[in-house]
């Protein structure tokens, strides 16, 4: 019986022999192949290396795998894309940056910040989905800009967060990712620049790059606090058309801005006429009894575009997001209408049904303390077992730890070593477009800290120590 990587290699060989992919064509990224073939990244990479040894494909550093052209292939300059327009070249460079470090871990963008099923209210939301499915006429109809009950449920949650809004100002989206994309498309054009704070969520970096926008990176202080002085100077750049960030339980540092900083940030951004796109997906996972207010709650100019979803707190698979575009409602609703018109009604109805009970707030209380305990244990381990000189974030929300190793330990280089041992972390270089944070890593407490987890942490600790 063939090993899995051999099966995969055969499939790809078949594609090439039946011209599904021709000479010079780029194969799908390793991440995508892994999803399609239900195999780990390691297995896919092994298959590709096998094909490379056979001369069928060749990997271009930072650019992916390509079907071999007839004739000599070696020595091709990976930057040899001279026939591309400047814009296309820039896009490819920014995407490849992310892929370089992403391709060795399918899990980074997904499971690392996707809670395991046992940490989600699975049974309750399934009951709600069943109830929603029984209401055929509603669940099978179009729902632009969203199912009425869903929008109203979100309106109620927004009101509790100090955001004055009506359900008529909310649009349902396929997750927060889609909300972000719609927001970016509404306020920018190709070639514009968007400002972010680094270390930044890789998803935000990817969404911005995918739209052929430039990224201006503004540093945070060591605890993750956005540096507003540097931001003010940076926003003088007229090419910047938007600021994009998470103000609460930011990914990866877990940092939550103070109310004063939020007010100050908006004052500066509004002074320059720059809209702020807020991604609040982790906001409900703050551990305090008082959930921190979003930027939108301080938004007197209606210039904050609020994006969020229930992917981290109810179910990622239902794709239940929403956007409050403020004064940009017209542009955002146009973008939604043009792109895919509406999101399915039945999934929205399921979420609305679930939120009607008191179950969700009870669930949140329970899961917050689980994450708090997980991170407490992880932090303890890191500070005691990782190489001396290691520093670590000290969040009060969410489920991620941001760890900075001493000296020149390169977490990108060490990543395959960890992966071989079966343990996935997110290398620091994912959190910036400029190769920064090469001695940093993000660890997530989205699953129970069991023996296997602890073995993995111990392996990491020794791997890092050996490199010093």
């Amino acid at each position: 019986m063939n090993k899995k990587y051999e099966v995969i290699a055969e499939k790809i060989t078949l594609w090439i022999s039946n011209s599904s992919y021709g000479p010079g064509d780029r194969l799908p990224s390793i991440r995508v192949l892994s999803a399609r073939m239900d195999a780990s990244i390691t297995t896919v990479v092994t298959a590709l290396r096998l094909l490379e040894s056979r001369g069928l494909v060749h990997g271009r550093d930072r650019a992916g795998y390509f079907v071999t052209q007839s004739g000599a292939e070696t020595g091709l300059d990976p930057a040899d894309t001279s026939s591309d327009s400047p814009g296309l070249r820039k896009q490819r460079e920014s995407r490849d940056h992310l892929k370089l470090t992403l391709r060795h871990d399918q899990a980074i963008l997904l499971s690392s910040t996707t809670p395991v099923e046992s940490y989600l209210p699975t049974r309750q939301i399934q009951k709600s989905l069943l109830r929603a499915s029984r209401r055929a006429l509603d669940s099978l109809s179009y729902s632009f800009p969203g199912d009425a009950l869903y929008l109203r449920a979100i309106e109620q949650r927004m009101t509790k967060l100090g955001i004055k809004s009506a359900s008529s100002e909310i649009i349902a989206t396929g997750g927060a990712q889609e909300a972000l994309a719609l927001a970016l498309r509404a306020v920018t054009r190709e070639g514009d620049t968007v400002a972010v704070f680094v270390p930044s969520s890789p998803g935000i970096l990817q969404s911005i790059s995918a739209l052929n926008l430039n990224i201006e990176e503004i540093p945070c202080d060591s605890d993750g606090r956005p540096n507003l002085n540097i931001m003010e100077r940076a926003l003088a750049n007229p090419a910047i058309k938007a600021l994009c960030l998470s103000a609460n339980v930011s990914n990866p540092t877990g940092y939550t801005m103070t109310d004063q900083d939020k007010i100050q940030m908006l004052r500066i951004a509004n002074g320059k006429g720059i809209p702020v796109i807020e991604d609040d997906v982790f906001g409900d996972l703050h551990w305090d009894a008082n959930r921190p207010l979003p930027l939108k709650a301080f938004d007197e100019m209606n210039s904050v575009i609020y994006c969020s979803s229930f992917s981290k707190t109810i179910s990622p698979g239902l794709r239940s997001g929403w956007i409050l575009p403020g004064k940009f409602y017209a542009q955002v609703s146009d973008e939604k209408y043009s792109f895919n018109f509406s999101s399915p009604a039945v999934t929205q109805m399921a979420v609305a049904d679930y939120l009607q009970s008191r179950a969700h707030d009870l669930y949140l209380r329970k899961v917050r303390s689980i994450y708090q305990n997980n991170l407490s244990r992880l932090r303890e381990f890191v500070m005691s077992e990782f190489p001396e000189g290691t520093t670590c974030s000290d969040p009060n929300g969410g489920f991620t730890l941001w760890v900075r190793l001493p000296g020149n330990i390169d977490t990108t280089k060490l990543y395959p070593v960890a992966q071989e041992a079966g343990f996935c972390y997110a290398p620091g270089q994912l959190f910036s477009m400029r190769g920064e944070f090469s001695n940093c890593l993000r660890i997530s407490g989205v699953r129970p800290i069991d023996d296997e987890f602890e073995r993995g942490m111990a392996f990491l600790a020794s791997t890092f120590a050996r490199t010093m």
Copy 2:
């Protein structure tokens, strides 16, 4: 109790007084307001005219309604967008063209080509949705590039249509509209040109415009047959990066290309290296026993991107589409991954479950003859009651009729008159970006031809006759 238009006018007034919309801001389009406030277009327009009479808003021809600036507003040049970049100005112009004629009929893009619920297999798909909802673990998980059973069901349908594909080459999308948007983003950049045949589906025109692409319009013969000679000359334009069309049961003419024309079209497009994006949403509604083959079935270079959905034949609300990107799989999967990652699994599972039974083919046979009868009756009425010199398409599939009135009868100008009487048709100007087809209209047989329908047709006939 206030009339509905007064209630709407009050709401908009409130938005203005609480600065949700400031001086000079554009209000949401009438289409969007109508959806948000659950009111007809006529009611919304009445409300806006009321506010206009009060000086609170003003309508700019072809551009929408705007909050009045302090000081004189009259005489503002609707083309006064000199601060916009050239690209932005072009985008606004092309979108406004569509809105000009769209804003008086919310129904044009929706119900005119959306079958009524009684024409869809509603009960069966609802049972399938319930069954899918019971499978919690699957229905709540991520599904990129799509639910396995859904992709396999589509693969089987594709194979029957002569398209050699594996489910690993198919990506699930939120409707055909999203598939089109992903295809366009994968093969074009802002400022590129896409070639279409006119009269063209308004949805295709809108998708292309929304991405800031230019449109090259190639005429069809009087029966709707795409003119391949003109196409060949037009494709010499190096700015054209894609061709986008429906080869079967095209909207609005209902025309289906011959196999020879399909082969010839691909030969020409491939010769110039231009990919073809195919929208096959109406293909299953051809009345013949033998369903016509898609362009993709003749696609030897793997350069056709096939887009479709079940919106016209199972349920529009489930947003169940798919795309076969051929050699562009890498680019399209990247676009999907970046934009909203995946579509919900549960709706895909419902469609897969429904397709497992033999019900769908029985349903299609039944509904095809319903549409055939409806169009036969409509055609008879048009040819006997509309002004002399009227010509009409003679389709053999779908549910739309394309009618050309004699002389200078302007169907855009007459639209509000018809709308007042409660009857919606689609004015010909919607089907091109250049103001063509002003004496044409599309009528749809997506609902039973009852007395009300016949009264509406009679009203139209007399309205058109009076104008001559």
